[in-house]
Symmetry: C2
Subunit: 383 residues, 2 copies
């Protein structure tokens, strides 16, 4: 089992979920003392209580944290002042147990919105959770973060003399800025809070923020990085952190609700990088393109239509589109390709779609999945 020197973790069932599944998790420094910390939060203007509290705590400490407590089964969102008090309670209880200040504890929640948190169950669970913390506790923490995730998401990436570990959850409401997703990155490398923040922002931009399953930006999205420092300063940290986030994002796409395919939508030749990102997202979030992916149908007309309505510079006579290595559209019209080759390029679990706008040097990649009846079945009723 993977460990990250300087950190402990734990996960257990405290009583939020009726199913009895694990629903409370902890990641903490081994000695309970604060270390440099950075976070990226949802851009949703209705942020959940734990997002509000974690953001305030990180500002109060100037980028230090000893622990993150997480619960699944309830988002503690749209819960008003009571919700904020519950989130503060969670931090205070952990701080008591670790011997740190409440502001040095961050909090994440995921689950249904608008329902009061079963705070009594959480309060009763914090003691056992703290008692269970250990260096090999990350898998248990990853399980306790899960909502509709089919499996826990945990990665460990090794750099030159250090490691970056990551645990995450995310199965729906997955869109840039950010998915309904939580991720905690830990490393034994040393980094100042500002260095850690810069590395995290770059890693998130190319991973979680380049993932769009259903265009929904949730109320609770949070990515937190903690650097324990035991391994000393390591110039490779940003790169390894980016790799860890990229793998977690891939795991999210592979485990997205109902998904049977993962597609990388690459836009090249856009007038700008921003145009490329917008165009790739428009294609990635298209219900009709996602339906075609599900059916393995090489109907590129929908891709042209989405590119043309993405709000970016576009010349239909210059666009070319390829499925894998099979060019299906050139100069805005059918490329005269082999239909069997196009079908074959869409047959696998992983699909690559490339659109070259032929206008400039802007490029971007967005990952998405197909839209399936199972996605609807999972989301048509919550109670």
């Amino acid at each position: 089992v993977s460990t990250v020197p300087g950190f402990v973790a734990a996960g257990l069932h405290c009583g939020i979920k009726d199913s009895g599944a694990p629903d409370l998790a902890l990641v903490a420094t081994a000695d309970g003392r604060p270390v440099p910390a950075a976070a990226v939060f949802t851009t949703n203007l209705a942020p959940a209580a734990p997002v509000q509290v974690s953001r305030a705590h990180l500002e109060a400490t100037g980028g230090l944290a000893s622990a993150v407590i997480l619960n699944s089964g309830n988002a503690n969102a749209a819960t008003g002042q009571t919700g904020r008090e519950h989130a503060e309670d969670m931090c205070a209880l952990v701080a008591d147990g670790l011997g740190c200040r409440p502001e040095e504890v961050l909090v994440c929640s995921t689950g249904l919105i608008g329902i009061p948190l079963a705070i009594g169950a959480v309060e009763a669970g914090v003691g056992p959770l703290l008692a269970a913390r250990q260096p090999t506790g990350f898998p248990a923490a990853a399980v306790a973060m899960m909502t509709t995730d089919a499996s826990p998401k945990e990665v460990l990436h090794r750099g030159d003399g250090f490691v970056v570990g990551g645990i995450a959850k995310g199965a729906a409401m997955l869109a840039p800025h950010m998915a309904t997703m939580l991720a905690i990155l830990t490393t034994d490398a040393e980094a100042r809070p500002d260095e850690l923040r810069a590395a995290l922002l770059a890693a998130v931009a190319d991973s979680f923020n380049a993932l769009s399953i259903d265009g929904a930006t949730s109320t609770n999205d949070t990515v937190i990085a903690l650097a324990a420092g035991r391994a000393g300063p390591r110039p490779g940290l940003p790169l390894v952190m980016a790799d860890a986030c990229a793998e977690l994002a891939t795991l999210m796409a592979d485990g997205a609700e109902g998904a049977t395919k993962r597609a990388r939508i690459r836009v090249l030749g856009a007038a700008s990088a921003d145009d490329a990102r917008r165009a790739a997202r428009k294609v990635a979030e298209s219900q009709l393109v996602q339906c075609s992916l599900y059916g393995g149908d090489p109907y590129w007309g929908r891709i042209v239509s989405e590119l043309g309505s993405a709000g970016v510079a576009f010349d239909p006579d210059r666009v070319s589109i390829a499925y894998g290595a099979v060019e299906v559209c050139r100069g805005g019209v059918d490329a005269g390709h082999d239909p069997a080759a196009a079908l074959a390029a869409l047959a696998g679990r992983e699909v690559a779609i490339t659109a070259d706008l032929g206008l400039g040097g802007g490029a971007a990649v967005v990952t998405t999945t197909d839209l399936t009846p199972e996605y609807i079945a999972e989301n048509m009723r919550t109670s």
Copy 2:
């Protein structure tokens, strides 16, 4: 059968569709002479050939037209220069038959993108189509416009001393600016081209452009209005045209692919009318909200989340949400409502969702549908 004085119409099978279903339609003035005409076209930057040709024709005549020829079964989009020549051919053949100029004929196509039009079949069909035109031909024309529409869409609205008739198609790729939709409005009222255009723009804004099923803005969207003038000037024309467009948009939502429910998303109290429109569209286009509609699930948390990520001014502590007359969220938290009443408000085929942002006087309504497995089944394969 409804007629509009001054107009004739027809519809038949010419051979574009393998199924043998009608695929070629005509709406023309009874005497073949041009009358004031106005049109609204897709904002997609990859407009289909018929959109390019119709736009150019309308500019060349300064807003006059004798006829519209329409085909279904092929969008004549992403077909390059050949596609434009085919669209011009269609207009020229109709002009020959009517004795008007080619620029006085407009053309609309709907169907699959990226496939060359079977122009031979169309050319052979124009003669019989012209021969079949008659005042009672609108139902046949409405049938020949259909693609995946479950039923033809035809309306007739009576004003004070005049009528407005409308035929339309539209079942998917339905989003503002505009749906994959075609609509032809005819009236015996008299109007100058600029008056007709103003009336049409206003009518479209509150009907077709306030409809979003799947967020897709197609390559072929076209709404055309023709005013034969026999009834003389009628101040009530804009209002009756708006009513006709609203009914056609409602028919599109009711007949949208796989839909089992139609929902009116009303946003009140926004900081501006534009904010209200953007917020209503974000909720209407949400896959997760559409899944909840399908399940009849009163999970208002998804609505708060969409409002918070709509890119508009938003204060989560001020928002209230109602299903029908049942307020489910007040001040950003659960309103303590009767769950059975909320369920009942979502049980019917028509659902009303109101979100009051509590910030200002901006208001807007967008109509949408639920997202169902049948939508996926209809769109997963095109060939």
